[in-house]
Symmetry: C2
Subunit: 229 residues, 2 copies
């Protein structure tokens, strides 16, 4: 029985902290803190835009979150530097476990899709640059649905776009809000907890499974399939 995977991109296949080195040249020691604040505000803007029913695409949210972070940090950053950071966001580094993790999955009866808030062109670019595209069955961009995770319509859109046809479907994500959104919308979801210090939201919704890297996925699914037989 074929299963479907909806694999998140930003924070799961590619590392949003990949902007930190570039930021160090602009904001010095505060680069890690700045990168974290920028990412948090970017997500907040996606939540608020989707909630307000006033969609703007992910690059717009990312750019406006950068502008907000410059304001809160009191950073007078030139437009050209902001452009350079935005360009860097299109070629974020893949996590080291992404390529071997996806490669190992090919031994199993799974159809793995990228599934992201990002625009299609950015996603294609990122997945090509990270050499992950050939390992995926397709790419589902929520820009086409004009909403963001964790709206239930986002997960419903995955089912339609990937043509899951009611088959068992798993979200794979390093982002707890995404895992919770998927479970709340009727998917299974595995949380990629890459660091022991990562915190899952204590709001009464648990991941279906937790692994510490994408490389562990294959063993996890193989074991579940064995038990299910």
């Amino acid at each position: 029985m074929m299963m479907y995977l909806a694999i998140d991109v930003y924070g799961t296949l590619v590392d949003t902290a990949g902007v930190t080195d570039q930021l160090a040249g602009l904001v010095g020691d505060r680069a890690p803190e700045f990168a974290t604040a920028w990412r948090a505000k970017q997500l907040e803007y996606t939540f608020r835009r989707a909630l307000m029913h006033d969609y703007a695409d992910l690059p717009t949210c990312t750019r406006q979150a950068l502008d907000h972070t410059c304001l809160t940090f009191g950073t007078d950053m030139a437009a050209t530097d902001r452009d350079a950071l935005m360009a860097l966001y299109r070629r974020l580094p893949a996590f080291a476990d992404a390529e071997p993790g996806l490669r190992a999955l090919r031994d199993l009866p799974l159809r793995p899709f990228a599934f992201s808030n990002g625009n299609r062109d950015d996603l294609d670019h990122a997945l090509e640059a990270a050499a992950l595209a050939p390992l995926l069955a397709g790419v589902v961009s929520l820009n086409e649905a004009r909403t963001f995770k964790p709206h239930p319509a986002a997960y419903a859109y995955f089912h339609r776009a990937a043509q899951t046809g009611g088959a068992e479907t798993w979200l794979v994500s390093g982002n707890p809000f995404d895992v919770i959104g998927a479970v709340t919308s009727g998917m299974h979801a595995v949380w990629i907890k890459r660091s022991p210090t990562m915190v899952f939201d204590p709001i009464g919704v648990a991941p279906t499974a937790v692994v510490s890297s994408l490389i562990e996925l294959t063993a996890m699914f193989r074991e579940r399939m064995r038990v299910a037989k």
Copy 2:
């Protein structure tokens, strides 16, 4: 012509940073940072809950945000201390300008309502404790609508509950996300910018007006009414 005011409560009439002194006894020097993180996570949970269509009331979001903040700060806080903080949240201190600000508004043809994500009982308690209740025409709790700001349904609910009947309606809030939500939903909105360092989201939606305290509201509305004549 009667105008309607939807006056936000948490962060506008009462100060969510009012938990900081109590926190100092529990987390020491990190109390201000902890209070800020707790408040940010509380708002994030309201955004995500409303977006997921998985409503839980504001006290639940507040408590779960406290639990999350304890986890991220590595704070092993006793349940009794968490209960004490939650109790304190029901009697947050009013801003110094709240009572004189509302009192001065009484000279104008305005109907001022409290309008909040909070539960009715908590709002009544907070407004009584701060001696603000007699200065308001009523209280609109979004718990009754089972959603949160900035969903358009939240602002629509205010119109229904306060029976604005299509009359000019202003949100009054210290929270930029709320100002943006109201403007996006067709209200006027005044941002209470209590400190020069407060940042408004640079996302292309401006407040109708900005004042530095609730006391300035009366002069602002009086001037607008004079000009409109």
